[in-house]
């Protein structure tokens, strides 16, 4: 029953993404940004690899993902449809997971066209597929973690803009924290490096799939979704 409800909510949310033009705009912006940043320097290095593309991803995701997730709860609070949703026989867990999976699925669809980068690069030279596969796995994990954070931000307010800004600030902070390490005292380096999403993503994107990195993303997802759970429950 519960799994059924998650899938009903998932399907509705996923469909709705493609009803409004916002989805297509977000996808277009993502592809333009990623494509332009990547290919503008690609030919200078004369290397058949996607490393630069994956280097850019966390930063782009920090802006794009909160824009995808901002409506998930905020819009429902604003319109009032949330009251209907909650009084249907579903649990908060069903609602949160359904919405979460919908945004992750949307991200996956958004990433799909970038496979053409890999294919065109592979045609140009010897592409090492290990880091590419790792990069996509990392991208899904990173996107899922940022989605969970965006969902949490959306559960805090009925204003989508505020939800976007909160989500973006958290994702952005997690992305750059390991790049600002030189500002921090040496004793805390390890800690801040560990909480940085960029660091773990780069590990996976190198093609090394370490359980610690996976665990990091899974715990980030869990914490954010649990936060969203607490936040929606608090409304009652």
């Amino acid at each position: 029953m519960a799994a059924g409800n998650i899938s009903h909510i998932f399907r509705r949310e996923f469909k709705v993404y493609f009803v409004s033009p916002i989805a297509y705009i977000v996808i277009a912006i993502f592809l333009v940004l990623a494509g332009w940043f990547f290919f503008s320097t690609f030919f200078l290095f004369n290397q058949a690899e996607l490393r630069d593309f994956f280097n850019l991803l966390p930063m782009i995701f920090a802006f794009i993902v909160p824009a995808i997730t901002m409506r998930l709860f905020s819009e429902e609070f604003n319109v009032g449809s949330y009251e209907i949703l909650v009084t249907l026989p579903v649990t908060f867990r069903d609602i949160i997971l359904g919405k979460f999976f919908a945004s992750v699925a949307f991200l996956a669809i958004m990433m799909l066209p970038t496979l053409s980068y890999a294919i065109s690069v592979a045609l140009l030279g010897e592409l090492d597929w290990g880091p590419v596969v790792g990069g996509y796995i990392g991208a899904i994990l990173l996107g899922a973690a940022f989605s969970a954070i965006g969902l949490f931000a959306s559960s805090l307010t009925k204003n989508q803009i505020i939800a976007f800004i909160i989500g973006m600030i958290i994702c952005f902070a997690l992305t750059i924290v390991d790049k600002l390490l030189f500002f921090l005292p040496e004793s805390m380096l390890g800690f801040f490096q560990y909480i940085g999403a960029g660091y773990h993503f780069q590990n996976i994107a190198r093609g090394i799939i370490d359980s610690r990195d996976i665990l990091y993303f899974l715990s980030l997802i869990f914490i954010a979704l649990y936060g969203a759970h607490l936040s929606v429950r608090e409304r009652h």
Binding site: G4, V16, S20, S81, I84, P89
Partner: protein, 312 residues
């Protein structure tokens, strides 16, 4: 069927519900009546599991809302005020979505959606987007949504507010039809609504129940006061005044106007006794023709105003 006991809800400092006790029987249409901000919506939201009470309990069919909230939600069809449905879905998709969540199997789903389309008259709007719908249609889709799983309890928050008279009549008809078998709880601040569709009225004011009874009982229990409308042919105003005023219980004689030689009067009565006999005897003694003689009971509106005014 549903029992609220000592139900209390605070929003911060503000007390929205103050120790409400209420038992709602099966197969009745209960009207929750009160001025805006009286706590009607809060009460409905607690019954439907949307809000949790500060203290007190709600049970439905012996299940407590604290422990079996999912079961209770399955039993209840709820339409919040203004029918805040998903705006970006087609009516068709929306009904299927609700049917899926309500766990109707694929076969029952089609049958049930067809039934609801008939009951609520949704045929022509099935393939329109919800945000394009007029208020009346939206409300009907909302009703279909609430009735999807043929729930035992139907909770409707201000189901007719903002609709035009025709739409109101249609929605009332639907509610009455359902009320024959199901328990319906509806809230409203419009009195005629309650008079038209409810078996029982509970008047709430400032979070407290100030009156509870059938519409009939409520009318009787408040200080008996009624008026008699009379039309007389061949009567003169002065004479009418002179004869009726001395009768015990008649407080005032009002002149309503003349029509083709007949004159209409209203006698306001401040007594619980029926004085129609006395009035008739008095008329009989005169050389008048009695064209009309009608008793008008006090309207619920008056009762409502009296009951909700006390604490101001």
């Amino acid at each position: 069927m549903i029992e609220l006991s000592e139900l209390t809800k605070y929003y911060g400092e503000l007390c929205a519900l103050d120790h409400i006790n209420l038992t709602i029987e099966k197969g009745k249409i209960l009207g929750l009546l009160g001025p805006n901000g009286a706590g009607k919506t809060t009460a409905l939201r607690i019954i439907t599991g949307y809000l949790s009470p500060t203290s007190g309990t709600v049970t439905a069919k012996g299940l407590s809302i604290d422990t079996d909230v999912l079961e209770i939600k399955r039993m209840i069809g709820y339409l919040p005020e203004e029918a805040p449905l998903y705006r970006d879905m087609l009516v068709y998709d929306y009904l299927h979505y609700v049917a899926d969540i309500r766990g109707l199997g694929p076969e029952r789903k089609d049958v049930r959606i067809h039934e609801l389309v008939d009951i609520c008259g949704l045929e022509e709007i099935m393939h329109r987007s919800i945000h394009e719908l007029s208020k009346g249609f939206k409300q009907r889709v909302g009703l279909a949504h609430a009735m999807m799983d043929d729930p035992e309890i139907l909770v409707l928050d201000e189901p007719t507010s903002g609709l035009d008279p025709n739409q109101i009549a249609e929605i009332r008809n639907i509610i009455k039809q359902i009320g024959r078998q199901k328990t319906v709880i509806l809230s409203t601040h419009i009195l005629s609504e309650v008079e038209a569709s409810c078996d029982r009225v509970v008047i709430i004011n400032e979070g407290r129940i100030v009156a509870d009874g059938s519409t009939e009982e409520l009318r009787r229990s408040s200080e008996a006061e009624y008026s008699l409308n009379i039309s007389l042919e061949g009567a003169e105003d002065e004479v009418v005044d002179k004869i009726f005023t001395p009768i015990e219980g008649v407080a005032e004689v009002q002149r309503l106007g003349t029509d083709n030689g007949s004159r209409s009067f209203r006698l306001l009565c401040r007594t619980t006794d029926d004085i129609r006999g006395k009035i008739y005897q008095t008329i009989k003694q005169q050389d008048w023709t009695l064209l009309e003689f009608k008793q008008e009971s006090k309207s619920l509106e008056k009762i409502f105003r009296e009951l909700t005014k006390e604490s101001e």
